[in-house]
């Protein structure tokens, strides 16, 4: 029930569509060539003009592709079929997640900024930062992500969630840093590869390391691999912690880790973690399964290196 009266929206240029749908110009053109969709009008200079409804369909398609569908099978299908497919995505295994996430999804649906912030803060206060960053947080992120993929949430609601979540987590990390002993080691450098724009996983890891008394330094997301290596050397890091969400292709993660391993001295450990399914241990790279395993891993590092605070 978005609009009762159809608004006359001007058709968009290919550059606008690229921005709004997230599909590169080259892809838009090659889909048109291969699958016959999109099927834009042309202006006087023979440039593509995309009607608004086709752009909407393109957004639907992008969601389905992110969810694992293949372009060849779905590009060109009528809208109602696409919507049916979208409903199936994320289906049955949603049940366990739903329990904790339901209030959050409700707050997102009602656009309640203050309520959401309070709710997240309450979770941190009630169960502690550790449980939030390693258990509840990942579940909420997962639930919101799949609700978005399913079409239950708009993009802007997902952005909004990310912002609120970030704010709560950041302030908790700051608070945790202030408390406790002066931090010295291990010095941990955080980052993600260039193809990984997802910051929440990295931040939850940062929270866990901070709780263990590490000195954390973050580069944020999407740092080129040679730059990560240079930073690790410059900051004299003990551990390089990399986060991989499920959007990173396994092969690229592996290649990148090997490249990185080559660029930093062996005295610096590389720890990789995240939801990326293809992450596998390799020589000189530790793979952490789940954020809860960070604590024990730090303990092990400390006894391994004979470092005591």
């Amino acid at each position: 029930m978005t609009n009762v009266v159809a608004e006359p929206v001007a058709p968009m240029s290919i550059a606008s569509v690229e921005r709004d749908s997230g599909l590169p110009k080259d892809t838009l053109r090659v889909w048109e060539r291969r699958y016959g969709f999109p099927n834009p009008l042309r202006d006087k200079q023979d440039e593509r003009l995309y009607p608004a409804d086709q752009v909407t369909t393109l957004r639907l398609l992008r969601r389905l592709i992110v969810a694992g569908h293949r372009p060849g099978k779905i590009v060109g299908l009528p809208d109602d079929q696409l919507k049916k497919l979208l409903e199936k995505v994320g289906g049955p295994d949603d049940q366990p997640t739903a329990y904790e996430a339901e209030p959050v999804l409700g707050l997102l649906r009602s656009h309640d900024a203050v309520g959401l912030r309070n709710h997240l803060n309450a979770i941190v206060l009630r169960s502690g930062l550790g449980a939030f960053a390693s258990v509840t947080g990942p579940r909420l992120v997962e639930a919101v992500g799949s609700a978005w993929a399913r079409g239950d949430l708009e993009i802007h609601q997902e952005h909004f969630f990310t912002e609120q979540f970030t704010t709560v987590l950041r302030s908790s990390i700051s608070a945790a840093e202030g408390a406790g002993l002066p931090r010295v080691r291990p010095r941990v450098l955080f980052g993600t590869f260039p193809q990984e724009p997802h910051a929440l996983g990295l931040m939850m890891a940062e929270a866990m390391f901070t709780l263990e008394g590490c000195l954390g330094i973050s580069l944020g997301v999407q740092t080129p691999i040679p730059e990560i290596a240079a930073a690790a050397r410059a900051h004299k890091a003990d551990i390089l912690a990399l986060s991989f969400s499920s959007i990173v292709p396994a092969a690229q993660a592996t290649t990148g880790l090997a490249e990185l391993r080559n660029l930093v001295p062996g005295t610096i450990e590389i720890w990789a973690g995240g939801a990326c399914p293809g992450l596998r241990p390799m020589p000189g790279v530790y793979v952490l399964r789940g954020l809860a395993s960070i604590g024990p891993a730090i303990e092990a590092w400390r006894s391994r290196t004979n470092f005591t605070e």
Copy 2:
């Protein structure tokens, strides 16, 4: 004085250079055709491979063009001439910037995480959040950006600065939100267009609005235009605040703002600001020159709409 030993950095693909320099692929190709620069190597499949030094030059060129030079006059010139031109550009008004930024650049060069954080926090405490977000902050960001463009800082140092700056600013905003009267109006929604990944400008604006007692809601960066519009309606925003850094082409900013203006009801005001030089006022869109003008603008809004706390 970055590196004594030249490191062998792998040449970049055209897509990487587009991300890195902010110049679209088409422009890179057409410059090569017209001016003979850049002059990339080719890999086995005849695809362009840009050496690192050419990418540095491209960044220099982009800065000069943003500053008003014409491509035809400067593309192809040797680096030392470009640097001379660049010095003239920011010439006299570079002095005051250098004064405040020098300690920060020093801390970045020595990779002093704790020192940088303390230094930024000290500025906030000494001069206040308002002065930090509207005066010192922008100057620091500018100084770091141009040091990076000049090649005086590595990418990872710029990432590192961004993270520390973000942390300090966020916690200050949180503190400011907690203080003062309960926040009701204006309700301000923050965001950037999809081609704008720069979050610092947006956050500094958020700080200024928060200090004025507004209720701020952020979508973070890179939200598609129709989604921004949908969020504005859903959150019943009074003001939509958009941030534009200098990497956004003026034409795209204008087009996008017009599109956005069409999509949201006239009762919601659109305020645009940022370092983007081509930002011009247009019907239904206010352009704020400088973060310091946010305060008076809010006052004006309050008296215009007869809203009193």
